[in-house]
């Protein structure tokens, strides 16, 4: 297999035409359903004829695309050499040849959808460790299972060599772990998945699902007084329960068989019932860990972990780069120490100074001011001055409480290797970044911050857009000077 030209599996043509095929099918079903409701005389009426012509047009387009894809498939090859992955597309119009060093590939994601299972193939997604393409998959291939596994093995071996070189040069914590021969494996059963669904799902998601469900079911109801009363009494709780059930079922399909394993310097994360995803990545390509706690998680003392690496997670399909499902604090520490000891350390958070409360409150005041103006105008228009007299102090109280909670929620912890940033009032987020992975630091001095002598910062890392910039909150200038000095010194990177 090595050094020989390999074609992708022909089913890639089907993969690429599938969406359009669904569109045609959807349209056809709609058309047939409409026709079945009308009588036979109007079956070929002028509007139906137009629809059939349109459908035929799409079919022709589909055929042209399929033929074009066939030629692309026929003239596209991949090659795996000793140290490189070569992608060579030579159609008459487009020519593309990419040669990529194997150790440059940050993540190999093997995905088995139903279509893949029918043809005994994998959809292989390769991601390069680059910020330019961090939000997209760099290469998406459809390969026979044995070829996909071969590619995964070769990339893992190349990365192993690269980290062995790092060991010789730097001698880091990772290398100690690489010498260990045991392979820690973490498996999450069905109970853990259900618990994760219940604890990790935010209240906003449940309400959003509820609104969608209610929106779907409301048109089928007749609005008598009784129905409205019933909806309020039974409908709202029932919709919320249904939403929770829906989320649990979705997560069972998504995270079924969630397994994390580590073999020397490589991590594997596998999950999914219908679409099975299998990520394999080198630990030196992990840029940060994010420990998250939703509202329910904070009440029940549960945490889950995400791993920031180019290629983990699927933003388009709303799948977060999850690394460990919901666990308690004791187990969380165990998981980090066992699976990713490079990110493990006991650190004390430095809280913001008391004078940081003022800029925090001024920041919140902008929202308070806007909402306050809208409220005053609305109440004056409605003539509800009494409600306004109660509403405004309540809003003031909320502003003070939220600002104080936001101030209290911030925290920074550092040692020679790691930087931890804690944020979030209701949902807590702690990001653990090795100084060696900090790409850029921005320190901002605002007008209020200048008066009281505090700054706020933004720490940038290599990740998808949503996780790239991590704000810190207001701290003393010395805190940021320490972060800058440690980043420049690049102590203990791995």
């Amino acid at each position: 297999m090595k050094n020989s030209k390999i074609r992708q599996h022909p089913s890639i043509i089907l993969h690429e035409c599938l969406r359009l095929m669904f569109l045609v099918l959807f349209f056809l079903i709609g058309l047939l359903q409409e026709n079945s409701q009308t009588n036979a005389e109007t079956f070929f009426g002028p509007s139906d004829m137009l629809a059939w012509v349109f459908c035929f047009g799409i079919f022709i387009v589909l055929a042209v695309i399929a033929i074009w894809r066939y030629f692309v498939w026929k003239r596209t090859f991949i090659m795996i050499t000793d140290d490189a992955f070569v992608y060579d597309k030579r159609t008459r119009i487009f020519k593309k040849k990419v040669s990529l060093r194997l150790e440059q590939i940050s993540t190999v994601n093997l995905q088995a959808t139903i279509l893949n299972r029918c043809f005994d193939t994998y959809t292989v997604k390769l991601d390069i460790n680059s910020s330019v393409t961090a939000d997209n998959t760099d290469f998406k291939l459809v390969l026979k299972k044995e070829v996909a596994h071969f590619l995964q093995r070769e990339i893992a071996a190349a990365r192993q060599k690269a980290t062995e070189f790092d060991e010789a040069v730097g001698g880091t914590l990772l290398c100690d772990l690489q010498k260990q021969s045991n392979t820690p494996v973490l498996r999450f059963g069905l109970g853990y998945i259900v618990r994760h669904s219940l604890v990790a799902t935010s209240l906003g998601t449940i309400i959003a699902f509820g609104v969608v469900l209610a929106g779907v079911s409301v048109p089928f109801l007749e609005f008598s007084q009784l129905v409205i009363s019933l909806m309020l009494a039974v409908g709202i709780p029932a919709t919320l329960i249904l939403s929770v059930v829906f989320i649990i079922v979705r997560d069972i399909f998504r995270y079924y068989g969630f397994t994390v394993s580590r073999e020397k310097g490589n991590l594997s994360v596998t999950f999914g019932l219908i679409t099975r995803r299998s990520y394999r990545l080198s630990i030196d390509k992990v840029n940060a860990l994010v420990i998250r706690q939703g509202v329910l998680g904070r009440i029940s003392g549960m945490y889950y972990i995400e791993m920031l690496n180019v290629g983990m997670g699927e933003e388009k399909e709303n799948i977060s780069p999850i690394f460990c499902l919901c666990v308690n604090k004791f187990y969380l520490e165990w998981v980090i120490k066992t699976m990713v000891p490079e990110f493990a350390d006991t650190l004390e958070f430095v809280k913001p100074p008391k004078k940081a409360l003022l800029p925090q409150m001024v920041k919140g005041f902008i929202w308070f001011f806007i909402i306050g103006i809208v409220l005053v105008l609305s109440f004056v228009a409605l003539g509800e001055t009494v409600v306004m007299m109660v509403g405004l102090p309540l809003l003031l109280l909320i502003w003070v409480a939220v600002s104080y909670a936001a101030y209290r929620a911030k925290g920074i912890a550092t040692n020679d290797r790691l930087l931890l940033i804690a944020t979030g009032v209701l949902s807590r987020r702690i990001i653990i970044v090795p100084f060696a992975k900090v790409q850029k630091i921005k320190v901002i001095k605002g007008p209020v911050g200048r008066i009281v002598g505090v700054r706020r910062g933004v720490i940038s890392i290599l990740a998808t857009a949503i996780n790239q910039n991590n704000p810190t909150g207001y701290f003393m200038p010395e805190t940021f000077e320490k972060i800058v000095a440690k980043t420049k010194a690049d102590l203990g990177g791995f």
């Binding site: 040069v169 850029k440 605002g446 980043t487």
Partner: protein
Amino acid sequence: MKLKLNRVSKKAIVNMLITSAAVALVINLIALTVWFALIRPEMPQKLVQCIYFLVVAFLDIILFISPFIRYPRYRYSIDDVSIVKKEGIIFVSTEIAPIERVHQITVKRGPIDNLTGLAKVVATTAGGEIVIRFLELEVAFELANSLAGTIKGIVKEQANDHEKQ
């Protein structure tokens, strides 16, 4: 920790003023369109008209004053370890990136830069860009070359270590 930061070229004020003039032109055109389309026929009250004029005039004044505040605050520093840029009018931000993280250096010139004989150096890291604007063309190329040299040195050092292994 006090950083020694360099000032950019004095031509930067002219560059900023031209940019401000262009922005002011767009704002005034939009303001005029809104005036003729909405405010004049719909709201004949003198107070609304006065507030509208004051807001537009205030924006224009701010645009023309801002270069004189922005220029003295715009500083940069490049050494063997890091790139630092400081800028801002109300919110002053300092951006710092270690040289080792920079993977691309570009010298760019826009139409206003061409007019004033200036250029900008864009240092790209995996976590975003640091753009140092308003540099004399020779200074920009000198900086870019020196940065490229430093990065090349780091890569070469790593490659030598690899070969020794």
